[in-house]
């Protein structure tokens, strides 16, 4: 009886998730049929003219995620190294509490903080680039960095501590300094876990909606002009999630192709985040 019930409920749950995936594939089919690859490579999104090019949205997502990883990655890894290699057990546990609290702050509150604290700061500090307002890709990237920081710290700490203590003792007994032990014994063996941490952080960053929504500027069709400089980051932009979270979703439902385009964005988002998360998870737990 319990067995039957378990199977029934599980099928319901798994079916729900399968339906989720299926719905995105099915509902977005029209846009793949009409536009094909131009959907992803096209840079113009004007829904009234039925022009659906998602490139600037993909760029927005990637730019914001890249900035966040560049900022939070080294900072989080450094903090994790100190936590795992330099601190005694008790201090570690206590100091992880503020980090856990940071992880618990809801997205919308981060958005609020971004508006109150980051917006003006970015506008003032980067006047050299003449931004239109404080709502830019850079602002969103910095905010996102703070949001993924706890993930990076805890997962890197995990990866470092999975290196057995025997390795450290053996290296120390040869006369290696603490830094040498970290550099030549611990880090090389923790590399895989650290990479997985990065992937999981990327997955998290790509999927973040509300906080980014509030400070990104929500400007469509912005592609970087000089590709490798800071300037394009200081323009307002749009990402996959912020487009989906905006007013267009409600409007789109009436229009067959528009709705397909929106669902297509959702599908892209699904695939990207699921891919990053799955790879990251496999990196942490390669076997059963």
């Amino acid at each position: 009886m319990t067995r039957l019930l378990s199977w029934f409920l599980s099928t319901l749950a798994l079916g729900g998730f399968a339906l989720l995936l299926g719905v995105f594939v099915w509902q977005s089919a029209p846009i793949w049929q009409t536009e094909g690859t131009r959907y992803v490579t096209g840079s113009a999104w004007f829904y009234r003219q039925h022009q659906f090019g998602a490139l600037s949205l993909v760029y927005g997502s990637i730019a914001v995620t890249a900035v966040s990883l560049l900022l939070a990655g080294p900072l989080g890894l450094g903090a994790a190294i100190f936590l795992s290699e330099y601190l005694p057990q008790r201090a570690r546990l206590w100091l992880k509490i503020p980090i856990e609290l940071l992880a618990g702050i809801p997205s919308v509150v981060f958005g609020l903080l971004g508006i109150a604290l980051l917006r003006d700061w970015v506008y003032r500090v980067f006047t050299h680039f003449d931004p239109l307002s404080g709502d830019t890709l850079l602002t969103a990237g910095i905010l996102l960095a703070v949001m993924i920081l706890p993930t990076v710290v805890t997962l890197c700490d995990d990866a470092l501590r999975s290196v057995p203590g025997r390795q450290r003792s053996a290296a120390r007994s040869l006369g290696l300094t603490g830094a040498e032990v970290v550099w030549s014994v611990v880090l090389p063996q923790a590399l895989r876990g650290i990479g997985a941490a990065g992937l999981l952080a990327v997955g998290r960053a790509l999927g973040e909606t509300v906080a980014v929504f509030l400070v990104i500027g929500r400007q469509d069709n912005n592609l970087p002009h000089p590709w490798f400089s800071l300037a394009p980051l200081l323009e307002a932009g749009q990402s996959l999630t912020t487009k989906l979270g905006g007013a267009e979703t409600n409007i789109a439902f009436g229009d067959h192709l528009h709705w397909a385009a929106i669902m297509g964005l959702g599908l892209l988002l699904l695939v990207l985040t699921a891919g990053a998360t799955a790879l990251g998870t496999l990196g942490r737990t390669p076997h059963a």
């Binding site: 019930l5 719905v23 989080g76 940071l102 919308v108 609020l112 909606t209 999630t241 959702g266 059963a288």
Partner: protein, 282 residues
């Protein structure tokens, strides 16, 4: 030279940790200092007025509570079922491995995806319009991986000897489930649900198309066309308008209350979390 590098690394990484702690502390302080002034009894017991510039957040709290309770009631049985599937009923190791990978992946899905799904299926196809039930179901779905993973880990940590002793007494699988597995891990169900609910309480994206509006709702009377007010959506809408001085403290007050809600649920789950050492933003 070697000594210098050693000290240098310590200082560098210590600085990184200090920066992280400062950020964490600073942000929390920013919320508390700005929002504390708005808290009063009337804040909790009145409803919003003047588009948020006056009044309180009563119905927002009620609405959020309704969504969370619904989500819990739907999610808990499903999570238990999936856990039992992974722990007991599924025999092949490979299938169980892939189930777990699937759960971790689903755990990382963006919440807006669930929101879109709910919008399409419940609001449009089922014809419910914006409904508290749609919101509850969507939140349940987004919580499910988290709760299941916590429960699986808790059940896996049950000492082997209990299972061996029970089997040795002649219990079959079904009796084992009820007498040993569920009894020993219901704490994991509670802490997993608290963790999932803490996350769900702060979510805006899944509910903004499916369940919530900004003003004009109190208690829902039916399923169809029965939206609720919620705390996160309230903050979301107010944040997008430029700050009028009146709204200023109130929006931070709402943020502080939301933070308190989320933290207290997370804190209640903390002992189990620290024990099980659960990571990967579960």
């Amino acid at each position: 030279m070697r000594r210098g590098m050693d000290v240098g690394l310590g200082l560098l990484t210590g600085g990184c940790l200090l920066a992280c702690l400062t950020i964490a502390g600073g942000l929390i302080w920013a919320i508390v200092s700005r929002g504390w002034g708005a808290l009063s009894l009337s804040f909790f017991t009145e409803q919003i007025a003047l588009v948020g510039a006056a009044g309180g957040i009563l119905w927002n709290l009620v609405g959020t509570t309704i969504l969370l309770v619904t989500a819990f009631l739907v999610c808990a049985p499903l999570a238990v079922a999936l856990t039992l599937l992974e722990r007991v009923w599924l025999k092949q190791k490979r299938v169980r491995h892939w189930l777990r990978i699937g759960l971790y992946t689903a755990n990382g899905l963006p919440s807006i995806v669930f929101g879109l799904f709910g919008f399409l299926v419940f609001v449009q196809w089922c014809g419910w319009g914006k409904s508290w039930l749609a919101g509850g179901l969507v939140l349940a779905m987004s919580m499910l991986p988290t709760v299941t993973l916590v429960l699986i880990e808790r059940m896996a940590a049950i000492p082997e000897r209990y299972i061996i002793a029970a089997t040795g007494l002649g219990l079959n699988e079904e009796q084992l489930v009820w007498a040993v597995l569920l009894r020993q891990s219901w704490g994991g169900l509670i802490s997993g649900c608290l963790l999932g609910l803490a996350r769900a309480a702060g979510e805006t994206a899944p509910i903004m198309f499916t369940a919530t509006i900004f003003a004009g709702a109190t208690l829902p009377k039916a399923v169809v066309e029965s939206p609720v007010l919620t705390l996160p959506y309230h903050i979301f809408i107010l944040a997008q308008d430029s700050f009028a001085p009146g709204i200023g403290t109130k929006i931070w007050g709402a943020a502080l209350v939301l933070l308190g809600l989320v933290f207290s649920m997370s804190l209640a789950a903390l002992p189990s979390r620290l024990r099980l050492h659960e990571e990967s933003h579960v």
